[in-house]
């Protein structure tokens, strides 16, 4: 009775390999746990921290490369007061950002929007990660399925001829 491929494999290896999905599953669990721990706020943010969080996403209109969180200009001061008033009134950060965009245009938001040219900021990293993972998977697959190089008849003749020459050379040496 011929042995099945599985039993041949089992007899040819000293110990059984772990299931192929185990390392992937372990990686997924670690990744999910790290994301969950990283995304969880350490404590309930105070009103000042919430104001600062929104202010960091609003560009100071009269500054160069500054948000209203860091600038002391009259505009930034009024913007921070407005953010505070709106947070106290129960508005969400995205609603507050929408207020500023409505008054000043899209450029005032330091968060790229999810549409138009700005959407590339969100889409490109995902595309790069997917392409990179696909490329790695393809490379691993090709390496795994690479057959060992088999010498051709010409190669074997060449080796034999070389060995023969060496043999002759060593035999003739004093």
């Amino acid at each position: 009775m011929a042995a099945s491929p599985r039993s041949r494999l089992a007899t040819s290896r000293p110990r059984e390999r772990a299931p192929w999905w185990l390392p992937w599953g372990a990686m997924a669990v670690v990744l999910a746990a790290a994301l969950a721990i990283g995304a969880r706020p350490r404590h309930d943010p105070s009103l000042d921290e919430r104001v600062d969080g929104v202010a960091q996403t609003i560009r100071c209109e009269i500054c160069v490369g500054e948000s209203v969180a860091t600038s002391d200009s009259p505009f930034a001061q009024q913007a921070r007061q407005q953010i505070r008033r709106q947070l106290v009134a129960g508005r969400s950060p995205s609603e507050i950002r929408a207020y500023f965009v409505d008054k000043y245009g899209n450029d005032i938001s330091l968060l790229p929007s999810g549409s138009g040219f700005d959407a590339l900021v969100w889409v490109l990293p995902v595309v790069v990660i997917v392409l990179g993972a696909g490329g790695l998977a393809l490379a691993f697959w090709r390496w795994r399925n690479q057959r060992p190089a088999v010498p051709s008849a010409e190669d074997e003749e060449l080796v034999e001829a070389t060995l023969a020459r060496r043999g002759e050379g060593s035999g003739g040496a004093p």
Binding site: E61, S73, F75, Q78, Q81, Q82, F100, K103, G105
Partner: protein, 185 residues
């Protein structure tokens, strides 16, 4: 080896195509809006409420509220005593306000931006002579109007819709041109 060089060539070609597309998109995309544009133009003027400032002594007086349909042109000017261009435009604003008050078709409201009422009143005694200096009564008026830094002036039509915005010093001629272009005197 040949296969690998083909892959490298294809990747380089793809990167080149992406760079060219990005350059084209950035080149033909809409340029940043000019100084005079505002998201408010063509929309009803935001709420404007505040407390009047007594020019003589800087004390706060009664309340002010811009009607939703004022029935005449209203120039809403945001200013501060520390703002140098505000001094430049002050004589023109005063002349425009006097002329249209007499004609009965326009008025000027000056809103104090980032300044103390006392300083603003002192400024107006020296440079202005405004008719409705007001301070923000509830907070956020300047932001509701989309103001970044003084001086900024909005011209509101009699039906309460914002007709035009100026960033920087405005002249009497600019204000009158918009009014006459819209069929007003």
């Amino acid at each position: 080896m040949r296969g690998r060089s083909r892959i490298v060539q294809a990747a380089a070609g793809a990167v080149a195509v992406i760079v060219i597309v990005l350059v084209i998109v950035l080149a033909v995309s809409k340029p940043p809006s000019d100084d005079s544009s505002s998201k408010l133009i063509g929309r009803p003027a935001p709420e404007l409420t505040g407390r009047a400032v007594t020019v003589e002594d800087g004390r706060l007086g009664g309340g002010y509220h811009l009607p939703s349909k004022p029935g005449r042109w209203v120039a809403v000017n945001f200013f501060a005593s520390w703002c140098v261009p505000c001094k430049t435009e002050a004589p023109d604003l005063r002349a425009w306000a006097q002329a249209h008050r007499e004609a009965g078709d326009g008025s000027l409201v000056q809103v104090v931006f980032g300044d103390e009422p006392g300083s603003a009143a002192r400024f107006l005694r020296h440079h202005g002579g405004a008719f409705w200096p007001v301070v923000d009564g509830r907070g956020g008026v300047a932001l509701d109007w989309g103001v970044s830094a003084p001086p900024e002036t909005y011209l509101v039509r009699p039906d309460g819709v914002v007709a035009r915005k100026w960033i920087g010093p405005v002249t009497r001629g600019q204000l009158d041109a918009v009014m006459s272009g819209a069929g007003a005197s």
